[in-house]
């Protein structure tokens, strides 16, 4: 069996979940380690360089959020995906604020999990080398050099700000981008609370890139958190 897809650390206090995830990830070509609590997870992450860490939010002792903060301090480049049983928005916001790249509600399909792991890794690579090249996701392609966006080959007319928003989201395709992060990336660091303003831009963008703006395929809303450009 080859572990060509990368290495993942599973941090969860439930042995059944560790066992299942480790088995499933190994089957899918990931090298999977496991830790049963936050301390052990931090310790392992210091000694090995993982591509992604799957971190349960609800753990006894040092909880997932606290562990995430600590991991982010010691290893800024590591991809962190938080797992939660609760479908609440507070958990997700808290996870992203603590430095997680993404979150997933239990239970989930492995296809979804591996897609998220890929997106996180791509996001980190993109951040590392500041990819400014041509991006294509689904029918949408974006050419930063010529500031051109096409959908199925047909050029779309975007305003400069719409282009910037789309570029930022596509560069982080697959992971949720928080309102604040998007606002300060596009409008500057002094912005961050103009969520309503952003909503208007997203509505305009959807009208241009989506087949049915009411049911977006590409640009999805993450309730109370932000937006996500879905990675294909």
């Amino acid at each position: 069996m080859s572990y060509s897809n990368g290495s993942v650390l599973v941090v969860d206090d439930e042995p059944g979940i560790r066992r299942a995830l480790r088995g499933a990830l190994s089957t899918l070509g990931y090298l999977a380690d496991e830790a049963s609590n936050g301390e052990q997870g931090i310790d392992l992450a210091r000694r090995h360089r993982y591509d992604a860490i799957l971190l349960d939010i609800n753990m006894p002792g040092r909880g997932g959020i606290e562990t995430c903060r600590e991991l982010r301090r010691s290893a800024p480049e590591i991809g962190i995906l938080m797992l939660t049983v609760r479908d609440g928005e507070e958990d997700k916001v808290e996870a992203l604020e603590a430095g997680a790249d993404d979150y997933l509600t239990k239970p989930f399909a492995m296809r979804e999990l591996t897609a998220r792991i890929r997106a996180i890794r791509r996001g980190h690579k993109a951040a590392d080398v500041k990819v400014t090249g041509f991006t294509q996701i689904g029918e949408i392609s974006l050419d930063p050099a010529r500031r051109r966006v096409t959908k199925a080959g047909i050029p779309l007319h975007l305003t400069p700000k719409e282009f910037d928003v789309l570029e930022h989201l596509m560069r982080h395709a697959g992971v949720p981008v928080r309102h604040q992060a998007l606002l300060s990336a596009v409008w500057g660091p002094e912005y961050g609370n103009e969520v309503e303003y952003l909503r208007t831009f997203i509505r305009q963008l959807r009208r241009k890139i989506e087949d049915d703006p009411a049911r977006p395929r590409y640009l999805t809303t993450e309730a109370s958190v932000g937006y996500r450009f879905v990675a294909k």
Binding site: E14, A20, A24, L28, N58, V85, R86, D87, K106, P107
Partner: protein, 495 residues
């Protein structure tokens, strides 16, 4: 003086009662006769001694004066003045020359007698007044002490027991009443203490109904209406004992306060209990969610992992897909149940915004579903998430109970000031007797209970959501035209 006591003093008071009002205290008749006799005897004795030993008029007059003063202090002005008259007469007869006749020869003696008479009357008046004042003061002190004791009791009362009987007993003890009755209008209960209360209880209730403060001279009982703010809260009856109108008023205020306090404490503890049970429910639901989701996560990770790896032969893959699908379904059911249980637990918290009906209808996806909305601008001021939940419950329901292969129609029309959304399906009709009850919690149609899976919560939640929006739900059903569920929501304006 407070308005309450002021009002009390102006109340009509019967003669019998006045006899025992503070300051107008008069000794009972036998004692009065005895003091009159004793005083007369003492005056007579002094006069005879003075006559026998030839004492002068002044000496006898001073001795008489002492007797009159003593009488005035103990028996009141009336007795003292009567005895004064006796003293003047006996002095005239025995001591003023010529003796043994009522003739006064010397005009000096006329002045002496008149002076004595005037002094005796004045002194006895002053003395009896002083005594009366003392009695009033004493009486006020006792009343104040009693009221203080009652108010202290109201503050320290056992909050876990009924307030009425406690206060009634306390008032009866402190004011030494024959009996006390308290009618609590809010709970409709009557509490009493003391003997012979039956007719008093009846009258107490009447006093509340008539809203009248009064003194019943036949029963020798005060009736007072209890007021809490501007509202009548009940009534109080006090019989016997040494109680004046002002005290009855003060007691009525205290009892009203006590009942009010007890009630607010009760509300507080009820709210606290509701809050605790809500907390408990949330905790239980969270624990349940965690306990069910954890094994589900493991199962889904394993099944979906196996499928994703594409390593199975078709037969095995079919079986694993079954595990995967069913665990996904179990997860969906769990989510729905938890959501319903949370929604069921509390009053629905509606976060309103403008929602276009066509927009939410567009979000409903199901095979065999046809949607028709005549007016794309039809919008309601509602909670989009809740509305989606209500609609999907109706559509789920239609899917479950429809004849396989038939179309399900979701439509919306404007009807007056309402948006009327309906979900129609063909299938076995709902019995008319059950049309209302399908919206009850855990009710499931008798003819489907064993055939079709469901929790019996869905439609009850739909109704709850409708009511939270000021709308309603109902259903109609017959074998030919199929079954239609209606959800109507008030429009209250348009986008």
């Amino acid at each position: 003086m407070s308005p309450a006591t002021d009002r009390a003093l102006r109340l009509p008071v019967s003669k019998g009662w006045r006899a025992s009002l503070p300051g107008r205290w008069i000794a009972p008749w036998p004692i009065r006769s005895a003091s009159l006799a004793l005083g007369t005897a003492a005056v007579g004795m002094v006069t005879l001694v003075a006559f026998r030993f030839q004492l002068n008029l002044a000496t006898a007059a001073f001795l008489h004066l002492i007797i009159v003063v003593l009488l005035a202090r103990h028996s009141g002005f009336a007795i003292a003045s009567s005895v004064s008259v006796v003293a003047v007469l006996s002095q005239t007869y025995f001591l003023v020359p010529p003796a043994l006749s009522f003739v006064v020869a010397d005009w000096h003696n006329v002045i002496a007698l008149a002076t004595f008479g005037y002094c005796a009357l004045t002194v006895s008046r002053l003395s009896s007044e002083a005594t009366r004042q003392m009695r009033v003061a004493e009486r006020r002190r006792q009343e104040t002490e009693g009221l203080y004791e009652i108010s202290r009791f109201v503050l320290l009362m056992d909050r876990h027991r009924e307030p009425g009987p406690q206060i009634a007993g306390m008032i009866q003890r402190v004011f030494n009443c024959e009996c006390v009755a308290i009618f609590d209008a809010v709970s409709g209960s009557i509490a009493s203490s003391g003997g012979n209360v039956l007719d008093l209880e009846e009258r107490t209730r009447d006093a509340y109904v008539q809203g009248r403060d009064e003194f019943d001279s036949r029963r020798r009982a005060w009736f007072r209406v209890l007021r809490s703010g501007n509202r009548l809260a009940g009534s109080l009856a006090l019989r016997g004992g040494d109680i004046g109108g002002a005290v009855a008023n003060a007691l009525a205020s205290l009892v009203a306060v006590a009942l009010e306090r007890a009630r607010s404490f009760e509300n507080e503890s009820r709210m606290e209990a509701a809050r605790q049970s809500e907390q408990l429910r949330t905790a239980v639901l969270d624990a349940l969610a965690h306990d069910v989701k954890t094994p589900l996560t493991a199962i889904r990770a394993a099944s979906s992992g196996l499928l994703e790896a594409h390593v199975l032969d078709p037969n095995h893959e079919e079986l694993v897909a079954l595990i995967d699908d069913e665990s996904a379904r179990l997860d969906e059911i769990t989510n729905r149940l938890l959501r319903l249980a949370r929604l069921d637990a509390k009053d629905v918290n509606v976060k309103r915004g403008w929602v276009r009906i066509e927009h939410i209808m567009g979000k409903m996806a199901a095979p065999r579903l046809r949607t028709e909305c005549e007016d794309p601008d039809l919008a309601v001021h509602a909670d989009e998430q809740l509305l989606l939940m209500a609609l999907s419950q109706l559509i789920d329901n239609a899917m479950k109970y429809s004849t396989p292969g038939t179309e399900i129609t979701l439509s919306a029309v404007r009807k007056g000031n309402q948006a009327l959304i309906s979900v129609h399906n063909f299938g076995s009709p709902i019995d008319p007797s059950e049309l209302e009850r399908v919206f009850d919690r855990f009710h499931r149609g008798g003819n489907v209970a064993n055939r079709i899976s469901g929790t019996g919560l869905g439609l009850s939640i739909t109704r709850k959501i409708a009511i939270a929006h000021g709308g309603r739900v109902w259903a109609s059903s017959d074998a030919d035209r199929g079954t239609t569920f209606f959800l109507s929501l008030p429009l209250k304006g348009e986008v």
